[in-house]
Point group: D2
Chain length 152, copies 4
């Protein structure tokens, strides 16, 4: 980024409000932690309902995918001005996602006129990387048209 900070118009409250407009995000309990030129940081609090199995006691992969999608898309949304639709997503699960709160860092890879690429990392309470991923998102005029909106 060689211009002035494109996220300057945002506040943590406005970031949280954009996330919380989404009913599924509210259920997940996503909290806006920070944002800036380098991306965003989101908290995903542990909860029994997010488990994959009682024995494994690990966070469900679909929940981590949702958090990666959120962090990557909101890093891009900060430059667009509002939530944007996801086009596709890839998630890699690196380790057991043990009980505890998670921090997800999202970052813009490339911001284009029509599409943008973003990535995100999921860290557990001990700051260990447990999952990461990248996705493609509508960034431009296309997002205003009545096109796919799988993700607000």
């Amino acid at each position: 980024m060689n211009e002035s900070d494109p996220t300057a118009a945002w506040s943590l409250e406005r970031f949280q409000a954009m996330m919380s407009r989404c009913p599924f995000n509210r259920w997940l309990g996503l909290k806006a932690l920070s944002f800036g030129e380098d991306g965003v940081e989101i908290l995903l609090p542990w909860r029994e309902e997010l488990l994959s199995s009682p024995e494994a006691q690990s966070m469900h992969g679909g929940v981590l995918a949702s958090a990666i999608d959120a962090a990557a898309s909101y890093a891009i949304a900060m430059r667009v001005g509002h939530g944007i639709p996801t086009v596709d997503l890839r998630v890699d699960y690196h380790r057991i996602a043990k009980p505890g709160d998670y921090t997800i860092r999202g970052r813009v890879i490339h911001f284009g006129r029509t599409f943008a690429s973003g990535e995100a990392q999921v860290y557990d309470a001990e700051r260990t990387l447990v999952a990461s991923g990248r996705g493609l998102f509508f960034s431009g005029v296309a997002a205003q048209r009545p096109l796919p909106r799988p993700h607000a």
Copy 2:
């Protein structure tokens, strides 16, 4: 598949029980519809909490990713005998996921000794394809060892 049906030992009740051991699957409300040599079919019922935004009235992308993960992994799990961990996942969002119940079809792409590839398609109430994806899953001895278990 050039052998006898590897899913012969299963019943719809046992398939449902494997899915419902997972707290997040129970919250999603996933229902076992059918299974066989060609794969599995799962129902994802519509619910307001699964929305991406009140305006868009579309199913959240993370919910669809979870359903694709589930259908692909359970198609493979049928041959392993129990739930298996997801290694990675890719999801493509093709259209707006409108209000209504969804049917997800999961299928084995390749079943290997250490890992297996599976895919799944998400259809809306009008049988229109709205999303699809594929993933890599642990299928073998590796799954018994204390390795990553992001998904039961």
Copy 3:
């Protein structure tokens, strides 16, 4: 596809000509085998230069990725009327790609106004699946504008 065949205007010669305009495809030796409503079929002939290692005697993963990209994109190109740019690509390697000629089948997953999703399977000389993948491609107006053209 519930309309008339959208590939009716094509011939095998025109399909081959579209592929062979690409210098890298010519070097790979890609041959048009067939096409139709259900997709396209391409031949990738074995050659020592396409090996990953002298010991492994297996086809290089990058070559298989190129063939998957080609087959998926040309299945979509048949409906657009010309070669189209790839937006992103995912490839899964299922087995050792042993010496012998390969057949790649490409198919449209979803054809949209701005982009399209396609997939492809790579089969060895014994008709065993050795690799498969899916990608996103520009399908519409976007393809006419001076946007990314990593793939003709």
Copy 4:
């Protein structure tokens, strides 16, 4: 990496030799530029045969995928001691890949006992990001066994 540099046993000559054992890498002309704890850097020289189309004058997407696969896998190979097989790969094409030499940076995302994740970025001669991607690779005992070796 909080231990001593795991790539200490390598030299640029040995890195180049590992790459050049692969006939397809030799044809691509991949050159080892640097390596260290933070990853590897590879040069992909421009050549007419690597074009996607004469009009577009852009590097073929399959060639960029091959270079991303190489850089990510060799960053991991440095810790394993030899070339490793690719399990799967995702590539995103961000911009037109214009004529000129390319530099590819590969990095380890997560190094596990059985699998490892790596990523790579492709920069053009003006140091602009044109493509990037990530993959999963065999890192452990599995690599010694006669398992899939799509990539040396």
